[in-house]
Symmetry: C2
Subunit: 518 residues, 2 copies
């Protein structure tokens, strides 16, 4: 405890942060909003250790494996911090082979030793919110429910339709590449080039295909006739009539799936949120069917289409490609650029751990850090900003008195006991004799809606004063200085006032955000 | 993805486990019950990174520092997994010196490379639930509120008074040791011997003091006249009259604090849960004032007092002392043996990081893993075991039909949409044409309270059947096969039935547990 200890480097590790105050409160409300939707669909919680045996993670993330955090070998097993929540889920399914089907959700931190970009929200420690359905069912039924869940989450968060769920199908993409004449070994690289169409114009993507990846220019031009399309059922109908495409088995299977998907999304009432986007390819190799990504206004960078801009992008990508890609990248590389949720069907991952336990899966991961930033910005634009309170306390118990006033500590304590017993969130000042102004200030800084003011003579008469805080009432208003309430009816009176207050202001994030101009 | 990959060691790392199914559900209910109490008292969430710079943790845990998990040096900062939630809180306070006072709570995992004893619930990764109050206030006011919180948590968990909060004061202990003649340098070792009185008889503790720690036998005998006492206000009154003790400044200050504490606990209505226990010393060095520990029936090992048993303890402690101590130890070494929560006042910890930011603190840590085991055992003894459902789904939507039945998938989906829109938790079978038996089985295995049965002719008439599941109704009962409801009144009807059902069975853990014979 000597003074030399002050040379501590007083900080959190690089790429990590503390969550406190109104940020932590808002984030927790986002978590519970999302978890409520998961539970409404029968989701059950799974919690896995923060570290796994290193061999469990090995070979799952391609070249991103270099970003895995390792624990030091202190004797015993060799472990690493988890990189996502999907591989631990697949490991759990393989270990629990009596579980043939499950809807599981998991809200937890994951770890990536990436170059952090705190200002862009890319951290080394960050949260994922995952929902996955494992089990062999009839095609597209669970897949459609996952998209219904996606839509429900954003509606509950108050985004009110201001988002688009882009969907595509790996089998359609594979079919398109085959009928266009992409050689087998070039399918993944060409697919990843197509995936960049949300941030680059076609001319640049074509250049990458031809110049960097050695694709025949005519093949690239045929690809263009497919991947530039987006739409709904009418796009599917058009593709269904494309004889060349339907002659390809993979494409035909994908189109059939997509037809079912569109029917089911209609039955779930979410078809209007969907864009069938043929350029969506997603980065991860393990997807085998439907893939999707959610974007919202302003969350994705605009496509650069004018020539000077395109040149600029091209130049910087030559000079310092790594950094430029990095800067545009999401916090979470498993999400696409600018997306707030993403996922798809992965039928072969569990089999990597235990071939006989092959269990098909479909799921989605919400990028909560980005959802947090967008939600916070929207709330902050709302001047009332009711949602940014630091705590959830409803009543501040205070005392007032004249000369010889003893502070009424015991009475304040007993009043708090009464409120806590009734389940009411309440605080009081820890000083023996706090000043009235101090007490009002603490209550108002905390955004606490009600003050309960004890006075000796009022208490002797069996009364206590309730004052709604933060109101600017005109002089002469009957509640200007609060109202005296009989002690016997205090709890029901307070509960009624709290209920009235809450139904007016902060029942849910949805209600807070839906009325806003964004 | 070759077959050789099946040689994976398919397990979680030593001392860690997955939480799934009804265990995860029950644990989450315990967490939210505890967090609700924390929020009721104005607690705000703080979330810190799972790892800290190694120098932050260094020198805080004495010889237990060897149990800290280190991250591998992969270039950059040297980090370790957090060992508890208290040191990160103190680090945060030192970093945020504008925060002069706060009530913070933190529910999160901590890590200790200890020898795991899974059967006894001692893990390398386990949860802590901490509530702490930082700030300079009038003596004992926040301390008393922390104990009120402890009591509220166990009441909300349904323990219904079946627990004891043992309290003592470091300054009283120090005073006792001084007036008994314990040399300054022996105070901590003698204090830790006294702390063993909850699992060893006085004779053994005395032997340890005299034989192992070299204390004068007469001094030990004087200590006995103090530390064997426990009680309430009457014990305090007796000590207040002890002139020798009151001549010691430390003891006098501690006794004054304890007097205030007892007054405040009375105002908070929790004095009946308290035992002023002069043998309570607690292991950690950093406590500076009030200390406490919560025990429940059966959570602490019985004190061995008959001679043969005592001999046995003594023998084994000679032969294999380390293991024997280990076996008796709590999952969480910062808790005492057999305790379910513990804490105290620590006024100097923040100053270890930044002397000028010295902020006095008082807090408590709940041992959730042990609370979980006790709660689960109590629930399992109750045959109804309503609380051990795997999910929270309320309605299972199914379909029934005769020959040529198409499975009514779209109708089941649309019905689910209606329920989800109304916020009702609902599931359906993902098969196109599921058998009715399959659907009933799935609903009953999940413990889902209501089935909603769609039939083509009923739907055509604008009706749907509700059946309460898991009832054994006699033949001829009007609801034996469920009741048909008009579609227009389905949602209010379902909500009313759900509310009725819930108010009868599983509103809170407290209600579930309080009626039980334990």
């Amino acid at each position: 405890m000597g003074k030399d200890k002050t040379s501590f480097n007083l900080k959190t590790p690089k790429g990590t942060k503390d969550w406190a105050g109104s940020d932590a409160l808002l984030r927790d409300r986002i978590f519970s909003t999302i978890a409520d939707v998961f539970k409404r669909h029968g989701g059950t919680a799974l919690d896995t250790p923060v570290f796994e045996l290193r061999e469990i993670l090995a070979g799952k993330y391609g070249e991103d494996s270099k970003l895995i955090y390792d624990l030091q070998d202190q004797g015993g097993e060799i472990c690493s911090l988890r990189y996502d929540l999907t591989v631990p889920f697949a490991r759990w399914l393989a270990m629990n082979s009596d579980v043939r089907n499950i809807k599981r959700y998991h809200i937890a931190k994951v770890y990536r030793r990436d170059q952090p970009a705190v200002s862009k929200g890319r951290m080394r420690e960050f949260y994922q919110c995952d929902f996955d359905i494992a089990g062999a069912f009839d095609p597209m039924v669970p897949d459609a429910e996952v998209l219904r869940i996606v839509s429900e989450v954003f509606e509950e968060l108050g985004w009110n339709g201001r988002y688009t769920i882009k969907i595509n199908h790996r089998k359609i993409l594979d079919g398109v590449f085959a009928v266009c004449g992409v050689p087998e070994d070039k399918i993944r690289p060409i697919s990843s080039a197509v995936d960049k169409l949300d941030k680059m114009p076609w001319a640049d993507v074509r250049k990458e295909m031809v110049d960097e990846k050695g694709l025949d220019g005519a093949v690239a031009d045929r690809i263009e006739t497919y991947v530039m399309h987006k739409g709904g059922r009418e796009l599917l109908d058009r593709l269904m009539k494309d004889e060349t495409l339907n002659a390809n088995e993979s494409a035909k299977a994908g189109l059939t799936d997509m037809g079912l998907m569109i029917d089911y999304l209609e039955a779930f009432g979410v078809l209007d949120k969907i864009s069938f986007d043929m350029s969506l390819a997603r980065g991860l190799d393990y997807y085998t069917g439907v893939i999707y990504e959610v974007v919202t206004e302003g969350s994705a960078p605009a496509v650069q289409s004018d020539a000077p801009e395109a040149q600029k992008v091209q130049k910087s990508s030559k000079k310092d490609k790594k950094t430029s890609e990095d800067d545009d990248r999401s916090n979470d590389p498993t999400l696409g650029v600018g997306s707030v949720a993403a996922g798809g069907r992965y039928d072969n991952l569990v089999g990597m751990f235990l071939p006989k336990a092959q269990i098909p899966c479909v799921g989605v991961s919400f990028g909560v850090d980005r959802i947090f930033s967008i939600t916070k910005a929207r709330l902050e634009r709302d001047q009332a900003a009711q949602g940014l309170r630091r705590s959830e306390v409803d009543v501040y118990v205070m005392a007032i008195g004249g000369k010889g006033f003893n502070g009424m500590l015991k009475e304040r304590m007993e009043m708090c006991q009464k409120l806590w017993d009734a389940g009411i969130k309440a605080e009081f000042n820890y000083k023996l004799k706090p000043k009235l102004q101090q007490q009002f200030k603490a209550a108002e800084e905390g955004g606490i809606p009600f003050g309960l003011i004890l006075g000796e003579s009022e208490l002797a008469e069996g009364k206590v004063r309730i004052k709604e805080l933060g109101l600017k009432l005109p002089d002469g208003h009957p509640e200007k200085d609060g109202v005296d309430i009989e002690l016997v009816s205090l709890i029901p009176e307070l509960k009624a006032r709290l209920e009235k207050k809450q139904s007016g202001s902060e029942v849910s994030l949805a209600q807070q955000l839906q009325g806003m101009q964004v």
